[in-house]
Symmetry: D2
Subunit: 491 residues, 4 copies
């Protein structure tokens, strides 16, 4: 292999062809595909500083702006001989080739390390904002779903057993709360990672008086990163994003687990349009909610990627490394895709599902859910000590396999045995058989009662407005052009 | 097995002995050991509400306060017959046994689910504050370490090769920055998780008008959790803490990897007192920095626990579960211990290490570090186009195995060949051989130059003050009594 | 701190007290608690060699045997001054102290590294055999469970929807198959790891002609490990065991997920004795199968430990390290405990559960399961092309919400419309409504039909015998004294 | 959306377009790209059975063979209306379309579930064999590397400090041993997973008397899988392969960590051709061994994929699921690629690296490595009790910063002080300063001495032959056509 002309230090050969095929060219293609706009933005920001620092005169400056503006995927190519299949070298090669006049100081005091760190971070920031946008649109769908179901009853489960009467609307505000707290963390995260590596050089800073503050603002960052070594050593913004995705994905996997139960043949609470169900090639009776399986399976990958990003730098030196910064970020695109795909599917599911109110209601009457409330009532209204009330109900329920309004007689007999009087009237007793009455008994803030759920929904509507405002601000400051509520792939 | 008297519903037997041995009693012991003070605090908070809601009269109230105050580890015992080896039942049993008068309404409208969630969260909150306290004390040690080493030179590495001259002080401000950003996140996290589950009941809220706002304040929380189901379904505060520990642990593992290199026989940059080194039983010449191995190995566990906590709820129903809330948190204590042990060791290491300045200096002169600066200089001062300057230096370095002040002649010859003049004076050239001069050439904010490092240290000192203030505030509001800078086990 | 007398090389101080408290003494206690018998066995094996190599005379030899035999947990203590809180040093200290005569060559050419590696491996081997023993006893319980349920019908699910009629017995042979393949792998694993590190010295071998072959046999190993460096660098036996536990635990988590569904209120297929169910303190109607939650939560930890053991050596030098060999194995005891606890609980659950045959049967008649078989039949018997038969059934099922024997008329009408004849007789049709008939239609090996299930059971009984034989052999060759079918904690 | 004609059960719409774009079509493309040959092979195997079972007559049979033979990537397309973007439906559609005559029974008693399971397993089996082939070629390179370096000396490290004299050849046999034990496990694994799901139907078996034994043989399997439900529920062959890759990758990461140290500027033991080193764009003096970073980073992903595959089925029902079988295997291709890429790079590195024998030798003389041997010698030869010999050497080494042959006087003085005589001759003492002498002192099997290393190499050569034989056998029985030693992408 012959010597490369421009970039040699002590090295006399171009990279090995297998290395090029396995490593360099794929890296080049990734950066060209994903990072090119950011590299251009960075170069343009640098140009301003180079003019200010008199590294470029006005002509050179204007000429370079034009050249850089022209760079696109059609004129940058991986070439192991000409540019070592490195995008920065290809950039440089392109610029020199297209520059009519000499630009002797154009490359002075520059490093690929902080450039790459900055471009990656700009890319990650945009993907984070896309995720926030998608979550906001999911939030909207979930909040809207509340309206119809505040007075609908269904069993709530603990330890996989029916425990309390709740409403589907209560469940939707619960999902809403999971989204709200996630957005709260993501808003913090956006600020946390929105600091700029540029100007940190190879690892220890630069030798001319570059204005890092100004450059960082110009690229939409809130500030420069404080310390040069941190700038080039870390890709922790990726791990942090990854964690938020995992954490929300984990909650999604749990909500979906509930939906799997609700949509089971035995529960039958959920109806889904045919276009969203899977069929069996052999068993004509089946309607499979495979979309739920895809969501759970999809968010599961997020945990694996979190492990991957974290472990890729574990036990490595704290500095600029290919191991961490390139190989370690190999799956970032997959992570972003798995997240957005799963959330889009989750949104479609929620948007299109409907509750079979009759089946849900029937489930609330097949078993007796009034025990908890009745114990409270016997104690509060009739002064039966609480644990004794429980004991009475225990005895009552051990005997009555099915509780109906006819069971009152049995209950009163037991109470009479234990306490010497049989207090309950039919109307009183029946209210504990009525799931809607039970739903309304819950009074505390955050509870399942219709009033409380509506209040929670109201709060969510305010938060939704707030997060849309936040999105508008960052979209503006970054010149992003999302369709509101749009999917992350722009559709 | 005979029937338990107090707690029976439809169940007629005490728990199986093997279950008791394997599950219930260990859980009881954990809660007694770690959660007892929080259970007491919760019961006392509840008492106030019960008085307000007229569930208790004044006598009952005062009497109960006294009884609960008296509960400690000497009078609560796991007993599968009497209390099903459940600490809440044991609590209740104790209270009934010690209560002279009837307290018929004392247990009305209460659930173990939100009690347990609240006690766990109070425990986790305290452990988080302990971790913040420990990090603050590490921060102090690291910042103090800067002073001595701002003008000391050593090689900085990228891709495992010497790349730039830096100072140990630059490295310490880098560690400081990792601590600062961690504390920034932990301060956010403290607020994020400081919301109270109490009053959420079993899963869907309560039936009396408990003032959740007031109860949450009384227990040191900023607010109640918004939604009842979230309160009992989630232990995500643990996953969140776990992530912050992992993330910081990951950085520690990298710093320690660097220290391992610095302390290698070949580098020899670090001296450590004998009381901190390990010896070989067979090889008398060895001094092992096994403390570094313990730190890296220790923080590695943090990632595993993050995986553990996250996966323990993956694919589970979103509700109160033993699987998530008890079995899933089995290793929280180990996680907190691994974190604090590793950080204490890291602090001891940094506090006690010293740099062998002579060896570090010699490493800076054995190879030629001036290439980057010299290319800048040739370009800026003598107008040699940058890539040509690089090429000249490439040729120069390919020829000169060892660069000394005598190498100037060779360099000037090459420049003359390429550019027609041989510009460099001896004094100019020698400055690129002098590591201290190279250190001072870095100008940008965040760089390794002594001025920049001192400025970074100044900023850190301010942040340290801020975080100490924050700690003081939360210690006060929670009645915590940490020794400032103390280890998490109180020594 | 004063100088330790015996063990000093270039080190002049005893270990730091905090290091002792955090690291050395806990390590000492672990090794004393778990490894002491193995250290003794190793020392005795070494003694034989030392006699053979004339390092010891007969008197010294006999005397040392006696001394070593006497060592137990009552006479070995962690002491940072006297033995650096190192168990090997404590051993040595004890032996010198109790030796009346000089034993000048007793310690020649020995290293702690291969000793520790050997003792750990012996410990791990025993724990593996305990696990095999436990699995064998689980296998027995599962196989026995088959008998009662070969002709019992219940729905089998795919994609969370009822799909085919199966029997509980079919499910138990499926669990049996998971156990069998696990035992197959564990038998291989036992041989794979049963190679002896002893004689590898610190990392590169020893200087006297120790007979490694003989020593390895004497300690119950099949052979010495081939390469000295491998011997001291690796704890991969632990990772390998950990993987098998995870893999089986993963299957258990899936079986338990099915049991959770079966035992749900809606399915109601499982009855469990009261002593195994959990109750609700507030909701008297509940019977929680929390034991299932504990099993799933328990096996989940196994994956985290696999991650932990693997990552503890990732990116570390390939040599003897505290990081890998001590810190990296910190949680091995917890892993073994989590495995055995979960498997014991799983065994108890299976042993004690029973199927509510009526409810299971009813589930098989509520929906129409005959579609698959009927399509086969229409095609095979009446020559209706298969996809057309499916289409006919699709149309049929879209119309008939509930399929009963009365539906025959509708079906025949559709067939007549499509094919011009209405072939099915009542008897024929009814057989597709009968779940027991459907069960018996499955013919292939490995299928759910009673004959096939019995054949599978028969094969399992043979394998069980084989694995018991294997266990007897290794118990004998290692002098293990397990109670057959006993729990791993010997009860 | 209009109704699909052929495949409908109770479903009246084609799948949703977004689902098609996000899920179905990508799945289709994956299966077409990777599984098509296996689907064809399965269909052909089934045809034989269908003829035997008289489901097809001879004409139909021959006609179908021809049609199926013609299927390739140019005539199968994802089409949500025509085939629901499902490859099995597309297959079927193609066959019906191209079949001149009716084939009424061709589709009878078939399920996609066991077909997909079988095709995936065939694919995985081939990828495993590719990996074995690659490892064998790595093995060959490593074994060949031994020859040159049996008498070359370099320091061996424990706890990151120089500990013993070893040879690079010793290190290569150590790598060889890691490969050998991996191949041993992979050979077992091949048999372990080489069992056939075909004939298991949807989950519970089939209704005609398919000969599963015969079909499994015809597809190159050793036997059918025993139990129908296991066949469709499990993709554990992937988890098992993944574990072996992780385990070997973990060892590779450790060997590479050592190479990173050896190739560090400070050690300088390794020379690499220029075509394999990376350069710095700004620092002309640098030669980065970034290939090592890529290997470590590459094998790190393997652990993440192991986590991913394992967790994708954790807590799922034990049955056929999209979640496990499709979404859960999303990254199998990436895993295989990461493995083969990393191993190819590792092979290239080892093949092309050479040891700088002079630098390695010098490292062995800069510090005193003779302590261990000298203590043995003083004890064995002069009867100085071992620990006293150690103490003497400790004192000696504390005083002598640099040990040369002149140090003998000091050593003898100390011995005289302690024991009353100063025994060592100059020639004796000097042998402990000579690294080659020290290398040869190690005698035990598996040690670093040249004889022992050569013996280990000899054993490896035999194993290599054995594994090549094994490969030849399975290549033959599966009609695989690997280039021996070829990379997994066939180059």
């Amino acid at each position: 292999m012959k010597k490369t002309s421009t970039f040699s230090g002590r090295v006399n050969q171009s990279p090995n062809k297998i290395l090029d095929r396995l490593l360099l060219t794929p890296q080049f293609e990734f950066e060209k595909d994903k990072l090119l706009p950011y590299y251009k933005e960075i170069e343009l920001t640098i140009l301003d500083e180079q003019r200010r620092l008199h590294m470029l005169n006005e002509d050179e400056y204007l000429n370079l702006i034009k050249i850089i503006d022209d760079i696109d995927e059609t004129n940058l190519f991986s070439d192991v001989e000409a540019n070592m299949s490195d995008i920065s070298f290809a950039f440089e090669e392109y610029i020199y080739k297209n520059s009519e006049h000499a630009i002797p100081k154009w490359h002075i005091d520059k490093s690929r390390n902080d450039f790459q760190a900055t471009a990656m971070r700009m890319y990650g920031r945009k993907k984070l904002v896309e995720a926030i946008n998608l979550l906001t649109s999911l939030y909207e769908v979930v909040i809207a779903k509340v309206d119809k179901y505040t007075m609908v009853v269904m069993p709530g489960y603990t330890h996989n057993q029916p425990a309390q009467i709740v409403s589907p609307a209560f469940y939707f505000v619960t999902i809403g709360e999971a989204i709200r707290t996630t957005l709260h963390r993501m808003e913090f995260l956006y600020r946390d990672i929105n600091a700029c590596p540029l100007g940190s050089g190879a690892m220890s800073g630069l030798e001319f008086s570059w204005d890092r503050e100004k450059m960082s603002k110009s690229l939409g960052f809130d500030m420069p990163l404080h310390t040069a070594l941190v700038s080039v050593a870390e890709r922790d913004w990726l791990t942090k994003i990854s964690f938020e995705f995992s954490l929300f994905g984990n909650k999604v996997s749990r909500f979906v687990t509930d939906f799997m139960k609700w949509s089971s043949h035995e529960n039958g609470f959920i109806h889904l349009p045919d276009e969203l169900v899977g069929i069996s090639s052999a068993m004509p009776q089946k309607k499979n909610h495979t979309i739920l399986e895809r969501i759970r399976g999809g968010v599961n990958h997020l945990n694996s990627f979190l492990t991957d990003f974290m472990s890729s730098s574990q036990n490595t030196p704290y500095t600029n490394l290919v191991e961490v910064n390139k190989e370690g970020t190999r799956y970032l695109e997959d992570m972003f895709n798995d997240f957005s795909r799963s959330i889009i599917l989750f949104k479609i599911y929620i948007d299109n599902m409907s509750i079979d109110e009759e089946k849900a209601y029937n489930s609330c009457t097949e078993d007796f859910f009034g025990g908890y409330s009745l114990a409270n009532y016997l104690c509060d209204e009739y002064g039966i000590p609480y644990r004794e009330a429980q004991k009475i109900l225990g005895k009552f329920l051990s005997g009555e396999k099915v509780v109906t309004s006819n069971s009152l007689f049995t209950l009163n007999s037991i109470i009479e045995d234990e306490r010497g009087f049989g207090p309950l009237k039919e109307k009183e007793f029946n209210s504990f058989l009525n799931p809607e009455e039970l739903l309304k008994r819950k009074l505390t803030s955050g509870s399942t009662s219709p009033e409380s759920v509506k209040e929670q929904q109201r709060v969510h509507i305010e938060y939704l407005r707030k997060y849309k405002e936040f999105l508008k601000d960052i979209n503006k400051s970054n010149n992003y052009t999302f369709v509101e509520g749009g999917d992350s792939d722009g559709r």
